[in-house]
């Protein structure tokens, strides 16, 4: 079961968890990344640290187990520049396939999976690169639901506007602090929407939805963890389904969502428990 919610600890996470980790201070990021990766090593995963810098090995010196793993090849460091190429804009599908190949290689080499901690700040500085990276975040999130790949996506908060942080955080099942009022993340057969969506945040939801695509003509949204949604939020979901010629299927154990659908006469929306 993947973790969903807000956490301030990076140990004890599963082999397919996907964290968003905005940070203010590089020392703090390095320490958390090292803990996250060391915990992965304990679980038999291969560890990979991706960041910008000249001496990435030194970044991880706080965890002796990691230093040892770096020496014997169970862990590696990769500079951001070499992984993401020269350009600051990723091709979402290609980037996912890079990690998929690396995960497969890790399993073939006898590891239980692959764990990555990356500072992705440099990849979201322009509107185009941000759009592409948001799409990548959703695709990799979907990949992690099915494969033993776990990731900590870190962003240096002082370098990015708050709405950018919110947009990125909203696409992760786990955050390190309150960054966005909701989380829209992948499930095995669609999406899950947790938290709260109202008039203020419905634009952010519409934006987050743009990074996703309905499959097989259905936009399946698990709203079991949704505490609140108003008609603005519901209409954003409905509009995204409609624009993609898909049918909105909402899963919720509570009656209010079905009632809102009925009052709004959204006859093409299916509510399931």
């Amino acid at each position: 079961m993947r973790t969903s919610g807000v956490t301030d600890v990076v140990v004890g996470l599963h082999s397919n968890d996907h964290l968003c980790w905005p940070f203010d201070d590089f020392a703090e990021f390095r320490a958390r990344a090292a803990e996250f990766l060391a915990d992965g090593l304990q679980q038999g995963q291969r560890a990979c640290y991706v960041a910008h810098g000249d001496d990435l090995v030194a970044d991880l010196a706080t965890q002796p187990v990691l230093v040892e793993a770096l020496r014997d090849g169970r862990a590696e460091v990769i500079s951001l520049e070499s992984l993401y190429g020269a350009g600051p804009t990723v091709t979402p599908e290609e980037q996912v396939s890079v990690y998929a190949t690396a995960t497969l290689a890790a399993i073939e080499a006898g590891f239980t999976g692959l764990r990555v901690a990356a500072d992705a700040t440099a990849l979201v500085r322009t509107p185009d690169s941000l759009d592409a990276f948001c799409r990548y975040e959703h695709l990799i999130d979907r990949y992690t639901t099915a494969e033993p790949f776990s990731a900590m996506c870190a962003y240096h908060r002082p370098e990015l506007p708050e709405p950018v942080i919110a947009r990125l955080a909203a696409l992760h099942p786990v955050n390190n602090a309150w960054c966005a009022p909701f989380r829209l993340h992948a499930t095995v057969d669609g999406l899950a929407l947790d938290g709260e969506v109202d008039w203020v945040s419905s634009d952010l939801l519409a934006l987050a939805l743009e990074s996703t695509r309905p499959e097989n003509g259905e936009l399946r949204v698990d709203a079991t963890g949704l505490r609140f949604i108003d008609h603005h939020g519901l209409l954003a979901l409905h509009e995204h389904a409609r624009a993609n010629a898909a049918r909105l299927v909402l899963r919720s154990g509570r009656a209010f969502l079905a009632r809102l659908v009925s009052v709004l006469e959204l006859d093409d929306v299916e509510c399931v428990r």
Binding site: D198, W199, R254, E265
Partner: protein, 308 residues
């Protein structure tokens, strides 16, 4: 006859009620017109007694039909639309619209009587709304005279109402009895999320079903959103409660919606504007909205008996 012929009648005795309503119903039946009775229990019983066994009459239990004005408009439009589609050239309906004389707050029913002039305009409809002068408060009678184009009399006349469309606003909504006490929550220019949090905390311990508790939070969020997005600040949110009922109000300094259908029918102009108010009118036990002393106020009551 085409269009909506919206008529009222003022009666002071049961006999007068029957003198006006029975010929109205019988006339419809004789002409083969779909004829509906949506009266309160007592008037329904009086009419059943006077009409005898009439299979053709369509009875709608008044208490259910007139539980909420937005529901009544939606359900009437379904019924009238069905008859019109089936070829009816004239439909008749007689109904008891609730008011404080029946123990029901008036504001949203006053807006209903005003709105149906537009909401039913497309149907070949003769609607009779009789009011019992023994129990109807004067401010209600004044609104009724303003919102009905015709008045039926005991002598069988159908006179134009001199007050109809006189341009005066409807009566000012009456504050809820809970407002005599101090509000338990007051927030000014707060975000919908902050309002929801305060409301959730405040209603813990009040006897509400899970659905009603959610309705309170939902209503609070929507009326604050409505004030912030359409009103003029400051937007003041307040909450009162007793042990089983919650009242929330939002007051802003704007004029409120100009459309008399606001809240009572879904707006078609833009998909979202006014939808919040419409949802509240279909889920809450009472919604008032109008200009009051300190600004434009939306007032929502949930729980308890549903009435103030």
């Amino acid at each position: 006859m085409t269009g909506f012929y919206h008529e009222t009648a003022f009666y002071g005795t049961d006999d007068d009620f029957l003198t006006i309503a029975v010929p109205f119903v019988e006339g419809g039946l004789r002409a083969g017109q779909p004829t509906l009775i949506a009266c309160a229990e007592k008037n329904t019983a009086l009419l059943r007694g006077a009409l005898g066994h009439e299979d053709a009459v369509i009875y709608l239990p008044g208490a259910d039909h007139y539980s909420r004005p937005a529901d009544a408009i939606a359900s009437y439009r379904d019924i009238f639309g069905g008859h019109a589609l089936a070829g009816a050239t004239q439909i008749r309906t007689v109904g008891d619209v609730p008011h404080p004389g029946w123990g029901v707050p008036w504001d949203w029913w006053g807006r209903y009587e005003n709105a149906v002039n537009q909401a039913f305009a497309e149907f070949p409809l003769w609607g009779l709304c009789p009011y019992d002068t023994r129990i109807t408060p004067p401010e209600v009678l004044a609104d009724v005279a303003r919102t009905h184009e015709y008045i039926a009399t005991v002598s069988g006349e159908h006179l134009p109402s001199p007050e109809f469309g006189n341009g005066l606003p409807l009566s000012t909504p009456v504050p809820d009895v809970l407002e005599l006490g101090s509000p338990r929550v007051t927030l000014v220019d707060a975000t919908p999320a902050a309002v929801r949090e305060a409301v959730s905390a405040a209603i813990t311990g009040i006897r509400l079903t899970e659905d009603s508790a959610h309705d309170v939070v939902y209503a609070a969020s929507e009326i604050v959103t409505n004030g912030l997005s359409h009103g003029v600040g400051p937007v003041r949110f307040r909450l009162w409660s007793d042990d089983s009922r919650v009242l929330v109000t939002v007051t802003d300094q704007g004029a409120g919606p100009a459309d008399p259908l606001a809240g009572l029918m879904p707006t078609t102009a833009t998909r979202s504007a006014g939808l919040g108010l419409w949802i509240l009118h279909r889920t809450c036990d009472y919604v008032s909205m109008g200009r009051e002393e300190d600004g434009f106020t939306v007032r929502v009551s949930i729980g308890g008996s549903g009435h103030t």
